[in-house]
C-alpha cells in the first residue's frame, strides 16, 4: 500500500462507497469513508465521489448533495488541482456542483440500465487515463437511469477541442452526446464518468478492465 490516502465521500443514500474502497485496495490504494457532514479533507491525496442515490436523488440526482457540508471542501480540493473522481452518481454530483460542465439526463430508452458496456479511452491526460494508450477498449459495467450526458453545443465543442472527453461508448447505451461516457475539467484533475471502474476489478466476475483505470488514478495521486 502506498502512504497516500483517498477520501471516499458518503452521502445518505450513497451505496457504492464500500465497493470503491475495495476497488482502490485492489490497486494498492488506502482509502477512508468521509461522511457528508465532514468538512476536513486535509491529509487526503485524492477524493472519490462514489455512486448511489445521494439524498435519494430526490428532486434531481446530485441537486441536493451539492449543498452537503463536505462539498465546499471537495470544490476547494478540486480547484487546488488535486485528483477528484466522480463515478456515476458522483459524476452527477460534480456536474451539479459546477466542477464539471453539462448534465446527465434520463437515458434515451427511459429505462434503468445495468449492463456491461465497451468504452474506449479517448484522452490520455486525465487522472483516470494517464498512461493508457488512446483507443484502448475497456469493458466496464454501467448502472444508471440518468446517464445521458448532455451540454450546450459550445460546451461540447470545447470538450472535444480541449481533449477533455475521457471515455467514449463504443455502442452508445443511453443517448449521450458524442457517445460521451466520461469527461474531465480543463486541468484534467477532475474526472466524472458514468461507468463503474470498481465493478471491473475482480477476475472471478470475469471483469477486470477497471483495474487499468484505477491504477492510472493511483499513479495520479
Amino acid at each position: 500500500m502506498s502512504s497516500k490516502r483517498v477520501a471516499v465521500v458518503v452521502f445518505p443514500g450513497t451505496n457504492c462507497e464500500n465497493d470503491v474502497v475495495i476497488g482502490l485496495k485492489r490497486v494498492g490504494v488506502d482509502s477512508e469513508k468521509v461522511w457528508h457532514k465532514e468538512t476536513d479533507l486535509d491529509g487526503f491525496s485524492g477524493v472519490v465521489v462514489p455512486g448511489g442515490f445521494a439524498h435519494g436523488d430526490y428532486l434531481r440526482p446530485g441537486a441536493i448533495a451539492r449543498f452537503s457540508p463536505v462539498m465546499a471542501s471537495v470544490i476547494k480540493f478540486a480547484e487546488a488541482g488535486a485528483p477528484t473522481l466522480g463515478i456515476c452518481n458522483g459524476f452527477q454530483v460534480l456536474t451539479e456542483a459546477g466542477l464539471l460542465p453539462g448534465a446527465l439526463q434520463k437515458n434515451a430508452g427511459l429505462s434503468f440500465l445495468c449492463e456491461t458496456v465497451s468504452v474506449e479511452v479517448a484522452c490520455s491526460n486525465s487522472i483516470l487515463t494517464r498512461g493508457i494508450e488512446l483507443g484502448t477498449e475497456l469493458k466496464i459495467p454501467i448502472n444508471h437511469f440518468e446517464g445521458n450526458y448532455t451540454a450546450s453545443a459550445d460546451v461540447i465543442e470545447q470538450l472535444e477541442s480541449e481533449d477533455r472527453v475521457v471515455l467514449r461508448y463504443l455502442d452508445n447505451p443511453n443517448g449521450s452526446v458524442n457517445s460521451i461516457a466520461g469527461i474531465s475539467n480543463a486541468r484534467g484533475n477532475v474526472v466524472g464518468l458514468m461507468p463503474h471502474p470498481e465493478r471491473a476489478t475482480d477476475p472471478l466476475s470475469g471483469l477486470i478492465d477497471g483495474l487499468e483505470l484505477l491504477s492510472a488514478f493511483r499513479d495520479s495521486l
Partner: protein, 735 residues
C-alpha cells in the same frame, strides 16, 4: 350501521364470539381493529398453519427457522446467512409500482431485523400474457417498482424468474426473496425482554397508507371494479428512508445497543408491539402521542394499524437510550421513545399475561388493553374442508395427445424461448462486487461477503423456482418436482442446497379444492425436502388469489440457498464447446402431462404428471455438484438441468448461450413426448471426456448416456427440430 364493525374489519361472527370469550368482555373499537388485523389470514396463517407443521425445519446448521423474522443458517467459520421470502400479490395487482416496491422494502427489513446486512434480492413474477393491456400495465409497473426501490435502497437483484400465463391475468403474483449475511454471534431476536426497557420507534412517520392492508386487501379475493377502491390500502415506499434505516439499524445491532428489534410490516404497530411483548412474555405500555405522524387528526386505530413503510421498533435498556437516539440522528433517521416494557399481569388461571396497553400519553388515559399473546399467537386455527377437483380422476386417465402430424415442434419451441435480459438489465445486479454469476443462469452465484464480515471462503447459489402447470395437474408431485428443480439449479453451479424458503400462492381457502391443493402441495414439498435434506427455514402463505370466483393455478414458489467454497476462477458452465459430446444424466422420462406444451400452448390439463424418484433425485443433486465443481477433470464446458420446456428448450438455451450448434443423434426415443417432457430430475452437460462422466455416473448408480454433440450452427433433433442459431435468436421474445 348496516353490518357490525367486526364484519367490516374482516372477522367472522364465530371469530368475534371467540374474542368475546377470551377477553371476557366486549372490546372497544380500537381493540377490535387491532385484533382484526392480527387475526387476518395474512398475519395469523389461520388456514395453513396446522398443515405447515409437516415441513422439516431443523438441521445442525439452522440457527433460526420459521416464526423468526428470517431463516438463518451457519455456513462455517461463524458466518451466517439470513434468507426470507414473501409475496406482495394483492398490492401489486392494484398499484403495481408501489406494491412491488414495498414488497422489496418489507422483505429487506426482515433481513436486517435479525442483524444481517442484505446483499441480494431475487424476484419471482407471475403475470398475465403481455397482449392483455392490464397485464402489460401491471408487469411494467412491477418491474419499475422493483428497479426503482431495489436499486435506490442499494441491494442488488441477482436473480429471479418471470412466467406469463393466463391464470394470472386478474391476480398477478409478486414474490420477493432477500438474503443477508452476518456473524452468527450477532443475531438478534424480536423480543421485548427486560421490565422497564424503553420502546423506540425508528424511521418514517406514520400515515394513513396501508390501513387494513393485511385484512381488507391481502386476505380476500378480487371482484370486478373492487380493486380500484382498495387502492388506499396499498402502502407507499421510500427507498431513501429505508437505506438510512438499514445503516442506522445495522450500527445499532453491531454495537449491541438493542435487546430486541422488530420491523413494522403487515398490521404495523399492532403487530410489532404485540409480537415483541408476546415473544418475551412481557407486557408493554405504548404512548400514542409519541408516534410521529405525517397526517393530521389520525384516530388511535389508524395509528395502530397503519402499514406506513420504513419503520422499526427497538427495545433498548434505559441507559442506552441516549446513545441509540444519537446513532439515529447521525444517520438522519427519526427515533422516538414510544413506550416501556412492563411486568406481566397475573391472569385468572394464575399464569402471567403480558398486557399490551395503548395510552393516549404517558400516565394518561388507557384507550385499549389486550393480552399481547391473544393478538400475536392466539388467532383461531382452521382445518378447512378439502376435496380434490371433481374431474381429477377422469383427467388423469388420459394423457395429453396431439395430432402428431399436425405438430410443428419448432413452433412450440419458438413459443417457449424468452429473453429476460431486458428485465434484469433494469435491476442493479452487481452492487457490492459479490456477483460471480448474475441473472439469467440456472442460479445466481455470489460471494458471501459484506463490509461487516469482510471476505470469506464461501460463495452461495440462489434460485427461485415455481411451476403452476405441474402443480395444477398434480399438486403433490408438482410441488416435489419444484423442490427438486430448485435444488438442481444450485447444484449445477456447484453448491450444496442448505436451506429453502417458500411462498405458497393459492386461491381461496374456503374452496375445498384449494385446500386440497395446498395440503397436497405442502405434503409434496415436505417429501422432497426430507429426501434432499433441505430444511424449510421460512416462508409465507398467500391465499385468496382469486378473481371473479376463479382461483389461480396452485403456485408454490421456492428459493433454494446453496453454499460452496469460493471457486478459484469463473466457473465454465455455460459455454458449450464445439466438438464436445452432449450427455443426459438421470432416468429416461416421457410424457407431456403438466408441460408448457400441453397446458399453456394447448390448454390441456390431462394426464399423470411425472413422479420424480426422490431418492434418485438426491443422488443426482450430489452428482451435479461433483460435475460442476470438478468441471476440469470431467472436461465439462456446459452443465444445466432440465425444467420447463423440456430437453428441447434446455438445448436451445445451451446453444444460444454459447453461440454454437447442437445436433442430437438419430434415435427412436426422440419424440415430441420425450423432448418436451419436463421432468426436472435430469441434467444435461457438454463434455470433451464423456467416458469420465459416464463412468462416474455408473459408479453412483445413475443412468447417463450420450445423446448428441456440439456441432455446426443449427439445433437439430432428427425429424423434429432443425433451426439455425439466427432462427433461435429471432424467436427469443422481448415484449
Amino acid at each position: 350501521m348496516s353490518s357490525p364493525l367486526h364484519i367490516a374489519l374482516g372477522l367472522t361472527d364465530t371469530e368475534y364470539a371467540l374474542l368475546l370469550d377470551r377477553l371476557g368482555r366486549t372490546p372497544n373499537s380500537l381493540e377490535l381493529a387491532m385484533v382484526a388485523v392480527m387475526w387476518s389470514e395474512h398475519c395469523s396463517y389461520k388456514s395453513s398453519r396446522i398443515h405447515l407443521r409437516s415441513f422439516p425445519t431443523t438441521g445442525e446448521h439452522v440457527l433460526m427457522g420459521p416464526g423468526e423474522n428470517a431463516g438463518v443458517i451457519e455456513v462455517g467459520d461463524g458466518v451466517a446467512i439470513a434468507i426470507r421470502m414473501e409475496s406482495h400479490n394483492h398490492p401489486s395487482a392494484i398499484e403495481p409500482y408501489q406494491g412491488a416496491a414495498t414488497g422489496v422494502g418489507g422483505i429487506l427489513r426482515d433481513i436486517f431485523t435479525v442483524g444481517a446486512r442484505p446483499i441480494a434480492l431475487l424476484d419471482s413474477l407471475w403475470m398475465g400474457p403481455l397482449d392483455q393491456p392490464r397485464s402489460n400495465w401491471v408487469f411494467k409497473g412491477v418491474v419499475r417498482g422493483i428497479s426503482g426501490y431495489g436499486n435506490a435502497v442499494g441491494v442488488p437483484t441477482v436473480g429471479g424468474e418471470i412466467t406469463f400465463a393466463s391464470t394470472y391475468i386478474s391476480n398477478p403474483l409478486v414474490n420477493v426473496a432477500a438474503v443477508g449475511v452476518t456473524r452468527a454471534d450477532r443475531l438478534v431476536r424480536a423480543s421485548a425482554s427486560g421490565v422497564g426497557n424503553t420502546v423506540i420507534l425508528i424511521g418514517s412517520s406514520t400515515g394513513r397508507d396501508g390501513i387494513g392492508g393485511v385484512s381488507v386487501l391481502a386476505s380476500s379475493g378480487f371482484n370486478d371494479a373492487e380493486g380500484e377502491s382498495k387502492r388506499p390500502s396499498v402502502q407507499v415506499g421510500d427507498p431513501f428512508e429505508e437505506k438510512k434505516l438499514i445503516e442506522a439499524c445495522l450500527e445499532l445491532l453491531d454495537r449491541k445497543m438493542v435487546v430486541g428489534i422488530q420491523d413494522l410490516g403487515g398490521a404495523g404497530l399492532s403487530c410489532a408491539t404485540s409480537e415483541t411483548a408476546a415473544n418475551a412474555k412481557m407486557g408493554m405500555d405504548f404512548y400514542l402521542d409519541r408516534v410521529p405522524l405525517r397526517e393530521l387528526d389520525m384516530e388511535p386505530f389508524e395509528i395502530m394499524t397503519s402499514e406506513s413503510q420504513e419503520r422499526m421498533l427497538a427495545i433498548v435498556e434505559p441507559s442506552r437510550v441516549e446513545e441509540v437516539l444519537a446513532i439515529c440522528r447521525h444517520w438522519e433517521v427519526v427515533a422516538s421513545t414510544v413506550g416501556v416494557v412492563r411486568e406481566p399481569e397475573v391472569g385468572s388461571d394464575g399464569r402471567p399475561v403480558g398486557m399490551l396497553r395503548i395510552l393516549d400519553t404517558e400516565g394518561g388515559e388507557v384507550l385499549g388493553v389486550v393480552p399481547a399473546a391473544l393478538l400475536a399467537d392466539e388467532a383461531p386455527l382452521y382445518d378447512r374442508p378439502s376435496a380434490p377437483p371433481a374431474d381429477l380422476e377422469s383427467r388423469r386417465l388420459t394423457e395429453p395427445s396431439f395430432d402428431v402430424t399436425g405438430i410443428d415442434a419448432e413452433l412450440w419451441l419458438k413459443e417457449m424461448l424468452f429473453d429476460p435480459s431486458w428485465i434484469y438489465s433494469q435491476y442493479d445486479h452487481r452492487l457490492f462486487l459479490n456477483t460471480i454469476v448474475g441473472p439469467g443462469a440456472d442460479s445466481a452465484l455470489i460471494r458471501v461477503a459484506s463490509p461487516e464480515i469482510g471476505e470469506t471462503e464461501f460463495a452461495m447459489a440462489l434460485s427461485a423456482d415455481g411451476n403452476p402447470r405441474w402443480c395444477e395437474v398434480d399438486p403433490f408431485w408438482g410441488s416435489a418436482a419444484t423442490v427438486v428443480e430448485s435444488a438442481l439449479n444450485v447444484a449445477v453451479l456447484g453448491a450444496q442446497p442448505k436451506a429453502l424458503v417458500d411462498c405458497l400462492n393459492f386461491g381461496n381457502p374456503e374452496h375445498p379444492v384449494v385446500m386440497w391443493q395446498l395440503k397436497e402441495s405442502i405434503a409434496g414439498m415436505t417429501a422432497a425436502c426430507q429426501a434432499l435434506e433441505v430444511p424449510v427455514v421460512g416462508g409465507n402463505v398467500s391465499l385468496y388469489n382469486e378473481a371473479g370466483g376463479t382461483d389461480i393455478f396452485p403456485t408454490p414458489v421456492v428459493t433454494t440457498l446453496g453454499v460452496r467454497a469460493l471457486p478459484d476462477e469463473l466457473p465454465k458452465c455455460t459455454r458449450a464447446r464445439p466438438g464436445d459430446q452432449i450427455l443426459i444424466i438421470g432416468s429416461d422420462t416421457s410424457g407431456l402431462a403438466g408441460s408448457f406444451a400441453a397446458v399453456e400452448l394447448n390448454g390441456d390439463r390431462r394426464g399423470e404428471l411425472f413422479k420424480c424418484d426422490l431418492i434418485e433425485s438426491a443422488k443426482l443433486v450430489q452428482f451435479a455438484i461433483s460435475l460442476s465443481t470438478g468441471w476440469r477433470e470431467f472436461g465439462i464446458s456446459a452443465i444445466t438441468n432440465v425444467s420447463s420446456g423440456g430437453i428441447a428448450l434446455c438445448l436451445a438455451e445451451m446453444a444460444l448461450e454459447a453461440g454454437v450448434g447442437i445436433a442430437l443423434d438419430p434415435s427412436d426415443a426422440l419424440t415430441v413426448d420425450t423432448i418436451f417432457c419436463e421432468a426436472p430430475n435430469r441434467i444435461i452437460c457438454a463434455t470433451s471426456t464423456p467416458d469420465s462422466v459416464l463412468e462416474a455416473a455408473s459408479g453412483m448408480g445413475i443412468e447417463a448416456k450420450v445423446i448428441g454433440s456440439v456441432f455446426g450452427d443449427r439445433l437439430t433433433v432428427p425429424n423434429l427440430v432443425d433451426i439455425s442459431l439466427e432462427g433461435l435468436i429471432d424467436a427469443r421474445r422481448r415484449p
